[in-house]
Symmetry: C2
């Protein structure tokens, strides 16, 4: 049974070998396995098993995201997973964009189906087909929906756990509006939602870009997306929001009567936070050399209690403290057969925000030794202040992680005037900011040069502030019409 790994029994003997500060990419692969976030040994390529330590956290992420969306008027649905080929064909650029990466269902039992069915790579053609039944009048608008769902992409690039897989977990929020102005308001709301959830609660800093025309979502008229920066200087696309092409509302015949009793087609936006990919960013951005760190609200476990000896009184005390802590946090007592040191390392690696060490010495003085993972700080507090202390960490821990993460961006964005300078900034793990000829079709050639010579991408123009270029395009030397940001991605 030598191939067996990662069981409860032996997980503790395995310390983290790689330092995040030295090799972040190897660190990430290792932490996925050692913290038991996901198991890659499932026997279908590109598919993996998400294990409890990530699922507990992702479920909380779903709860938080869904609560915010509902507060803003989105209603939850469960739409079918299977899409008839004819739906996908209704909007040509959408089909073109997704056809190469769709899994097709062709048979039910022994029977060949009349029409092949796609496993949803995304659900525009599912939602919009139904919108026509539900929307009649401007009074029905905005019509705001969402679903939590797993989606499937037959991605031929190398998969990476949580970051790129053939089945992943997301929310897709689709809205129909009466006017382009309302659609624009929705994009702004989606940006605010991203700030509220991704940054304020999950602690992840990002920049919201409008993507260049050649990098739009298939079927979108305009695409906006939040880029999160990894320690290696690569950016990861997180929630994106789109003006969906008007072709869709025409193809799916989604009309409404406006205030003047005239028929019009709706304007559609969609917003998609990929929960399993955001989890990766949380692990990557907040992690450190010891392992994971979690903001309080999405920690799989908030408090762990470690009896530092197996003295009966110590164990009893640990269990008493568990009862107290249970009232305000999720908590577990570690009664496994490891040394105290091994337990410390293990729970630090797992990223539990607060550890309580229980020993005879502290008990005698009515003190408690606590370790908080956000600051990696050990403190001795009086027993009676424990509840207050935990509440304080609950309040501070997310904010501390966020502030530490915000520093990642500091100084990473550098102005460049030519490709030489750009090359250096990118090589140093930075993001280059520069003048650029055009983010319309005309600029694609210059973007191609950057990609070829530097291996980096034009991520787009900033959405949160209007930036005025002066000078020339960093590639072709024509007059710059935009300021763009260039970074490496995955």
């Amino acid at each position: 049974m030598t191939e067996k790994k990662d069981t409860k029994q032996n997980r503790n003997s395995k310390e983290l070998l790689t330092k995040r500060s030295e090799d972040f990419s190897a660190w990430f692969s290792e932490i996925v396995q050692k913290a038991e976030l996901a198991d890659m040994r499932y026997n279908v390529k590109g598919f993996l098993v998400f294990q409890p330590w990530s699922v507990f956290s992702m479920e909380k992420m779903y709860d938080i995201y869904e609560e915010v969306l509902q507060k803003k008027g989105h209603k939850p649905y469960y739409f079918p997973t299977l899409i008839p080929e004819k739906n996908l064909k209704k909007e040509s650029s959408h089909l073109g964009g997704f056809t190469p990466e769709v899994f097709w269902v062709t048979h039910g039992g022994e029977t060949e189906l009349d029409e092949k069915l796609a496993l949803r790579p995304t659900s525009e053609t599912v939602f919009y087909q139904m919108f026509k039944y539900w929307i009649r009048s401007y009074k029905d608008l905005p019509f705001k929906t969402y679903q939590r769902a797993n989606v499937f992409r037959y991605d031929t690039k190398a998969t990476r756990p949580f970051l790129r897989g053939r089945e992943f977990y997301w929310i897709e929020a689709h809205c129909a509006h009466a006017s382009l102005q309302d659609a624009e308001k929705q994009v702004k709301e989606d940006m605010e939602t991203t700030e509220e959830v991704m940054h304020q609660i999950f602690g992840l800093p990002f920049i919201f870009f409008e993507r260049p025309s050649w990098d739009k979502f298939p079927g979108a008229a305009r695409t906006f997306a939040a880029d999160v920066l990894n320690p290696d200087g690569r950016v990861v696309q997180q929630p994106s929001t789109h003006f969906i092409s008007n072709e869709f509302s025409r193809a799916f015949d989604i009309r409404f009567k406006n205030k003047d009793e005239q028929e019009d087609y709706v304007y559609i936006t969609c917003y998609g936070p990929a929960i399993s990919r955001i989890f990766a960013s949380i692990a990557i951005v907040h992690g450190d050399d010891k392992g994971l760190r979690f903001p309080w609200k999405i920690a799989p476990l908030q408090v762990v209690i470690v009896p530092v000896s197996d003295d009966e009184k110590v164990v009893k005390k640990a269990k008493m403290l568990e009862e107290t802590v249970k009232k305000i946090a999720s908590v577990e007592v570690d009664l496994s057969e490891k040394s105290a040191g091994e337990k410390f390392n293990y729970w630090e690696m797992k990223g539990v925000p607060v550890r309580i060490d229980v020993g005879l010495k502290d008990m005698a003085s009515k003190n408690i030794t606590v370790f908080r993972r956000d600051l990696n700080k050990k403190e001795i507090i009086s027993e009676k202040s424990l509840t207050g202390y935990i509440k304080k960490v609950a309040d501070e821990c997310g904010k501390n992680l966020r502030e530490q993460a915000d520093k990642l961006f500091e100084g990473k964005i550098k102005n460049v005037k030519n490709l030489e300078e750009m090359k250096k900034v990118i090589k140093d793990g930075g993001i280059a900011r520069c003048g650029f000829c055009s983010v319309g079709k005309d600029g694609e050639k210059c973007a191609g040069v950057i990609e070829k010579e530097i291996g980096a991408e034009v991520r787009g123009t900033r959405l949160d502030e209007k930036e005025k270029p002066n000078g020339e395009c960093v590639v072709c030397g024509e007059e710059a019409k935009e300021i763009v940001y260039v970074a490496r991605s995955y």
Copy 2:
């Protein structure tokens, strides 16, 4: 646009036409549409769109079920949706049972896959493949897992919304144990969980049967299942729990070292509450001639406030009350352009537990008129007692619905001595209790006679109490070895 139906605008003009007491089956079809529980117009046969009014409730049902499972030590996972054909082939009766109703994925993009992949009809062969990596020693046992998931069956029978569809939503909890005794304990725990959630919280009475040998889950050594009774006398199978055949632990090589350092194969149980089907039972069992009724904890909306005129003061008052109620319940003010009477009917049809009517007359006397759906009773209460009143309904409403539902079973079970008596009991919408030769292989022939002559099924032997037969098999006249229950199902 004549085909457009069920939009916000016109939903209110459509009253419920069918009385549940007169034609329960037509009532159910109608309520699914009028209460906007699901839309059947999706263009893939057997698939439907679950709308917010059912999804809000099903999400709460998931939360409740998952909390109970986690409290009992089950850990959450997300397993892949796709299963390689070879996994399904590992246990012959499982494959045999599911092959005719599996959707097969054969292509990724344009590429034909090396091996066809099944959309999970259930996930035994997915979980158990991974168990071998995670289980080593008796110390790892019991190993208790679950996932919330959508599953797929290419069911060739007629589909019915929520009750039988080609994609449905459930929880599947899989456990590995060190001994048959531990597996038996798990089945008992699953029964308790069913009582705790299905009966105590959802208010659904049921009987837990052990199914006859010919009616087992494919791949199970023994199958236990809860039958819920519908008003038309038909039973619906709700959560089932199974001893999984030992073939599985052998086929997937799930071994562990027992206390004596000997290698042994694990014993597996699985438990599966189908959330979307349970939702059907909630609608069906608690509904009445006016429409739906919901237990408080799973109501999509708990309180609705109806201003009975559009007087500005009344609307203002309604919004003030909303602020008060918001602190203890989910609440909405109905400001639509309908008459008060239409609003009353609409919200009664939707099953909201408490309605608050706001009018000038009540305002003058500092009173409030409230309507509670569990008892269909209107009451006038003082404004200052509102919060207390809502809390009282919150406490009582689930219990009241449960007690009303419990009465469904009362007198429905009747002892019968021969097929003539059985026919009459079944025709009257009852469940027949009788002596039976055998629930092993030998009895299948007699069960076939019952099915053919009466159109009813042997549901099994009671699990909660040991019942001793005396007398003869109701069909063949041989000595009765069991007492079985016979009912019609869908």
